[in-house]
Subunit: 62 residues, 2 copies
């Protein structure tokens, strides 16, 4: 499986937002909807800083 | 390997932009830099429409 973990980066520190993210979708209000492989969902306020797919990492920043 | 393929979606049709994308990084000018697993790079004008990591798909739209 090729899901990734999503982190928020603040002052150089990473906080795990969600594990096993399958779907990332921007919403009209500027947030991102993240859906996990089990259907769990969260909404992220922030923007994408970097995605490393081979490392399974999605980094957001405020 | 968990790289993905990147597509541009226009009028409901998908055009392959790049295979085996590892890194996706927004640039200051609003474009996205995509780096493949072999180090090849392209720059995309557009925004992210959706990412399906389990399906290895990143969709951009103009």
């Amino acid at each position: 499986m090729c899901e990734a973990n999503a982190y928020m980066v603040k002052n150089g520190e990473e906080t795990l937002l969600m594990e096993s993210v399958d779907l990332v979708e921007p919403e009209v209000d500027g947030t991102f909807r993240l859906v996990g492989i089990f259907g769990d969902q969260i909404t992220i306020k922030g923007k994408i800083k970097r995605m490393n797919l081979v490392d399974h990492r999605i980094l957001f920043e405020a």
